[in-house]
Amino acid sequence: MSQQEIAQQKLVEIFAHFGKPSKFSKGLFIFLILIVLFAFYALILQMTRGQIVTGMRDYVIWGIYEVNFIFFIGISYAGAMISGILHLLHVEWRKPIIRIAEMITVISVLIGPLYVLLSMGRMDRFLHIFEYGRIQSPIVWDVIAITTYLTCSILFLYLALIRDYALLRDNQELKISSFRKKIYRKLAVTYHELPLQKKLLNRGLSVMSAIIIPLAVLVHSVLAWIFGMTIRPGWHSTIFAPYFVIAAVFSGTAVLIIAMWIFRKYYHLEEYITEKHFKYIGLILLVLAGLYGYFTFSEYLTVWYGSETWELEVIYKLFDFSDYGAWFYLAAFAGVLIPMLFTGIPFFRNINTITIGAVIAVVCMWIKRYLIIVPTLETPLLPNQDYRPEYVHYHASWVEWSLTAGGVALFFLFFMIFIRFMPIIPVADISEVPENKEFISEKL
């Protein structure tokens, strides 16, 4: 059987999983739509009544919206770093999981910045950042960096899809509508696996994977500088940029593991996404957990040892069990040690435990972002004459939780839509027989 025929056969197999939506996926789709609609109602409420419907007040001006923003941009690292690095290093086992990673990147970069708009008191003034933005402002850097990052992520995903679109266009066995065929024909740009076309496409992919890595690092560094360049205790730190980058890759990898588990289980992709993939990605998660733990320890040890008055106010809020202590220790210890335990010790290491470790890591990383933003803002540098507890202490309102749930629902909805139009497994790639590799025989 020729390579092309293998590819065509695999394509039919994989797309058979996504051909007709099941009752469960229809129900899930409706459920997610309902969540998004409810979030939309909350959004209208916020736009008409103003930010009084949120828990944000004079002191805590960034609540869980900003937490979600950092969280979503963080998980976008799954595609940018994992996919980019593995592509550059020509790691063969990456192929079945690389598409999921790239999709996570594009979807999360589409959703994340929406939360910045929600944080704004006057959304209609968003365009002012382009009209009156000052180049020396980290907020302007952030807008530029995220726009560029989104463009590059979409291009990276599209380049990787061209060969699959060509297969979809040419496959006669697949029963898809003429409209979809037309779309595939356009997106496949007359690609016919000609040697020169293949060469150019591979060059493009290598360039994009090389560009996307420093770009992703820059985006999260800029995000960290929004905090680090203020002189607020808890934020003004020289290691914030690398700390944010490591935290982002850590959470991105964890989300990738969860997505792999869901797709493998629900779409029966056991043949393509094997235990080996979980173990390899799990080992990456182990290294990242160690690095993240090291950065956390270094950051808090330095601040605590320095005993600077204002810094200590924040740090004791984090250490105190009557304040944020429980959440802090959960994020700092459970969020690092449990994923390390499940990925590091062979006895515990299997698909399910690695996924559980990833879920714990993701939850703890969200909590960690909350702990970076809220306790700091609850510690005002200049005391006000009238600081009522409700002005200082932040509790997210139902509107904020609804819009958070809406973002998560939108994330899954986008995934469901994406997989209807894009092969979740890069068929053209996994059908290639690499030199001196037992690739096909391992069905990797």
């Binding site: 000052r134 180049i135 020396q136 850097w141 530029i144 560029t148 463009t151 590059c152 291009l155 380049l159 061209i162 740009v189 007359t190 690609y191 016919h192 000609l194 020169l196 076309q197 150019l200 496409l201 060059r203 493009g204 360039v207 994009m208 560009i211 770009l215 820059l218 004459q385 009238d386 600081y387 009522r388 507890p389």
Partner: protein, 289 residues
């Protein structure tokens, strides 16, 4: 045996003290009002109040409590106003200069009333302040600048007499608070002096505001007086700061770095688009041939 007895006594006392606490738990507590009087340099009279109560053997501040302040003498009672305590249980009332207050022989009596509620008893506190005045004179001889303060009151005949042996603070007004430059005590004539520090910065004209206070006196309250004079060193403003947060122009290195980075990335984006177009052209040519 003795130890057993001691233990029994301690046990009984502990149980009884517990009952006593339970019994007291529902009874209203009598709060404590602490009021002080101050006469500021612009002639404003300020009544500062703190309201607190004992709760679980701890003194706690009472916020959001309404208090009424009355000025009174034997014949007249005038309601000056109502105030509400803040989160620290504190409130203050300013009486504007020129307000006519009922006065007695040597000063004013103020009454602070708390109406009570279900948890706190009704209570009141009165304070009396004998009216005192501060006079400041500023003298410069050779290069030595001296501040002389005199604390006085009116006697029965209406004559000015000095108040001896009271502490006086000398300060210079800064942006957020007072900067203390010295403390003295009045002599038998009610006077005291202090040399003004020659290195004290003033504004761009050398102007400083000297504030002299007689603080927290039991009889007279706090009395404050101030005077402006150009005794300070001249403040020279830096015309061009090296870098300012509100600068409208970005540093050039930042502009160049951003341009290089953006151009670098976006050129690659353009390059990828060109590659896709080339792939398309190659494919079309192949189809034609």
């Amino acid at each position: 045996m003795i130890l057993k007895k001691i233990f029994q006594i301690i046990l009984v006392l502990t149980v009884f003290s517990g009952f006593n606490r339970i019994a007291r738990a529902d009874e209203p507590v009598t709060p404590r009002i602490t009021a002080t009087y101050a006469k500021l340099s612009d002639g404003t009279k300020r009544i500062s109040i703190a309201l607190s109560a004992r709760q679980n053997d701890k003194r706690v501040n009472i916020p959001d409590a309404a208090l009424q302040i009355i000025a009174q003498n034997e014949a007249i009672k005038t309601i000056l106003g109502n105030v509400i305590t803040n989160q620290q249980g504190k409130a203050s009332l300013d009486i504007e200069p020129g307000t006519t207050l009922p006065r007695d022989q040597d000063g004013y009596t103020f009454m602070v009333l708390f109406g009570g509620n279900t948890k706190l008893d009704k209570t009141s506190q009165s304070i009396h302040a004998t009216e005192a005045f501060l006079e400041i004179s500023l003298n410069e001889k050779d290069t030595i600048k001296t501040i002389t303060a005199r604390v006085i009151k009116h006697n029965e005949k209406g004559e000015k007499v000095g108040i001896p042996d009271v502490p006086v603070e000398f300060n210079v007004k800064r942006l957020f608070c007072l900067y203390p430059i010295g403390n003295e005590k009045t002599d038998s004539l009610g006077s005291c002096s202090l040399e003004f520090p020659s290195t004290m910065p003033g504004d761009k004209n050398g102007k400083v505001t000297i504030v002299v206070r007689m603080p927290d006196n039991e009889t007279y309250g706090t009395v404050e007086e101030s005077k402006d004079i150009n005794w300070g060193t001249l403040l020279v403003y830096k015309v061009k700061p090296i870098r300012g947060l509100g600068d409208t122009d970005a540093p050039l290195w930042m502009v160049y770095t951003l341009l290089v980075l953006l151009t670098g990335v976006w050129l690659h984006v353009v390059y990828i688009i060109v590659l896709v177009i080339r792939i398309n052209i190659i494919g079309k040519k192949a189809i034609k041939s």
